[in-house]
Symmetry: C2
Subunit: 418 residues, 2 copies
């Protein structure tokens, strides 16, 4: 059973607004085993809407239309559908009363434009008139078409409360979808593709997708089966085969992030972390503190942009900076040990580098970044050369640093790998 989504509004095709409704509906339906084949964004244009709806009716089992149901002159969805499907508009008295009641309650002054909301195509079933804008369903040649308002909050409410239960009931025989996302950091997409390519024979029963999500690669494994247990089993086997190939670079699964994984590991180990950031400029701290409960393990973070701050706050010796430079292995190590000592945290993490676009030299070009992690057992410091814009170098550096904490907490040999 496959459907498609038509989203209507000039703001969508002029690039003023992201198509959140299409994204939301597709995500919810796909997760429930209802495939979406097309998401189309159209302007407030009768010909374009008619054509798209006509094509969709020819190829899809159900259609979700959002937008163009409002009070203003450019809201034309209802009129266009009425003409295309030959269902004349009729005033729905109970809906009109409801709209009047809502308007009075919200102290919206009554205007003739509001009456427009109560005129629907003949045969329409009103869905859940919770606000002033109602959604409705029309059937055409055995296929349901759901018309939903374009305001994301209203659209989502009607999707969740009405459209999804309705479709699940209509198509009880849909397959179960079991899905896993593996989040990969480090190798290129081509390398991942090659590694997975070797498994062709073993992955016949699943769909593999991968897409870059800078700086990560997300690899999805999807198993479809009428039998939920079988879907899970197929998924599990495929995941194991894939992990054997690329597991070394998988830092998180599904909704986990590098910072949530690091947080869980720190909590489990009962250890605390302190961070000294130069070129990442607070991004590592921001990501760590985005996790609820991070105050349990995140002690402090120092964004030491100036040399003075590096010396005063972290005790980096003035001579170290003068001799080796603020961007050097020696300074990175002194930052990591310094922040660890000053804070009393178990783990000290430091990053110093050149994020650009200026400040690079022949010896230390933009993207030169030193990372250091210090713990009771010792410390590790490394140079990385990143490429990209300032924001990309910040993100790559922060991700690498957070991944170091993960590796340190999951691999006893991490500090001694050289």
């Amino acid at each position: 059973m496959q459907g498609e989504i038509l989203t209507i509004g000039d703001e969508l095709i002029s690039g003023r607004v992201l198509n959140l409704n299409g994204w939301y509906a597709a995500g919810r339906l796909t997760a429930l085993g209802l495939a979406i084949t097309n998401i189309t964004a159209l302007g407030d244009d009768p010909a374009a809407i008619s054509a798209a709806l006509f094509v969709a009716l020819g190829r899809s089992n159900f259609i979700i239309v959002s937008g163009g149901l409002g009070t203003t002159k450019d809201d034309i969805t209802v009129e266009v559908v009425s003409r295309l499907l030959c269902c004349p508009l009729e005033l729905q008295e109970p809906l009109l009363d409801h709209i009047k009641a809502v308007a009075a309650k919200w102290r919206v002054p009554w205007t003739p434009a509001l009456e427009k909301l109560a005129w629907l195509p003949r045969g329409a079933t009103i869905i859940n008139p919770g606000g002033t804008t109602a959604g409705f369903t029309l059937w055409y040649q055995g296929k349901p078409i759901f018309f939903l308002p374009g305001v994301p909050e209203e659209m989502r409410m009607l999707m969740d409360r009405h459209v999804i239960p309705f479709l699940l009931n209509l198509y009880p025989d849909r397959p179960t979808i079991a899905r896993r996302t593996l989040k990969i950091f480090g190798p290129t997409e081509a390398w991942v593709g090659d590694m997975i390519g070797r498994l062709d024979d073993e992955l016949n029963d699943v769909i593999i997708g991968y897409y870059p999500n800078f700086p990560e690669i997300h690899l999805t494994i999807t198993a479809r089966d009428k039998n939920p247990a079988r879907a899970e089993e197929v998924l599990h086997q495929a995941e194991q085969a894939i992990m054997a190939q690329v597991g070394a670079f998988v830092f998180a699964r599904d909704d986990d992030t590098i910072e949530s994984v690091v947080g869980d590991l720190l909590k489990k180990a009962g250890r605390t972390l302190a961070v000294a950031e130069s070129c990442t400029g607070g991004l590592i701290c921001h990501r760590l503190t985005g996790v609820p409960g991070s105050s349990a393990y995140f002690e402090r973070g120092l964004v030491v942009y100036s040399n003075r701050a590096k010396e005063e706050l972290l005790g980096v010796p003035h001579e170290t900076i003068v001799t080796h430079g603020a961007v050097s292995s020696e300074t990175a190590l002194a930052m990591a040990t310094g922040v660890r000592q000053a804070s009393g945290a178990d783990v000290g993490l430091a990053v110093t580098g050149i994020a650009g676009p200026d400040g690079g030299t022949t010896e230390k070009p933009v993207g030169t970044v030193y990372l250091s992690l210090a713990a009771a057992e010792g410390a590790i410091t490394e140079l990385r050369q990143f490429f990209g814009r300032r924001d990309q170098i910040k993100i790559l550096s922060a991700h690498t640093a957070l991944d170091w904490v993960r590796r340190y907490l999951t691999d006893d040999s991490f500090l001694h790998r050289h």
Copy 2:
């Protein structure tokens, strides 16, 4: 001259990924007077891609296709197009050499999958192979089709550097679009709508759009005219009328951000800033240091999650925290003056609050945030009550704090407004 956009990838129709490429291309082209009629998202499905391309060729003057050009098995755009338009694939030797050179430079290990990138349909013109993934143009019945990679960074680069100049050159007679975006922080969308509604008579010649971009409201003013000077003049008059209504809440225009505005103001005033963050957890520092050249005015930032860090690093008296709490007006003020003194910066900025979801009390619920700004002339401290999720409270707090620096630097009475 109207075009359309086809975006390809299972991740788009399964709701895993927002259609950023469609949004970006539509926004850029519309701003330049080139209308986009449809944005379609499709899966990695040969039949669906062929059908969509076929329909698009029938109705549009130009087509932009993004996605499916990569190295992996599910990247099938090139093959599908080759078959649909009867242009057999050919190995482009110079492109292959280029890909090899880029791979070597970026230290990407060579794999057979990378060779796939050098096979293009006969007649294809390679566009700007800046990365490993090239885009290309094909002509069909006098209409250009642009094939761009799906990775947003690469797609945007090829759009900006090649597709847009190419289309502007191809269609010189389009109307000029003059557009301004005013970025508003503080009031609700409904209030902005009411204020702008009063100007109906004065804004006949422009199109006004507004849309929330959390935590900002972006108001766009668009003027279209064949005469560029006239378009600019109409835009200018409308902007002045709107600024008279809502100017007090406009913190930036067009591509400026609150952090770039603050950076410019600090640079112009020759002053430096130091930041002490508790509940914002590094976000203020991250945003400030995202601006190239921020090291000229950003001295240091302290993410003081623990009370110990607040006392040691900022000299917040132990008694202040014990008596009034870490989330209090007194602690916020001590943090701002403390970070200013310790760093020697001209301005000290501090935020302490409860980002949630836990940690709230009846007296100080989640979203309770104290801000403080200290300078040579004095200091200001205020309580704000925000609502939302943890990430939203962090963003609202950081935005408010940065806006304080802007107001302080542009309004002499800011420190004395009570």
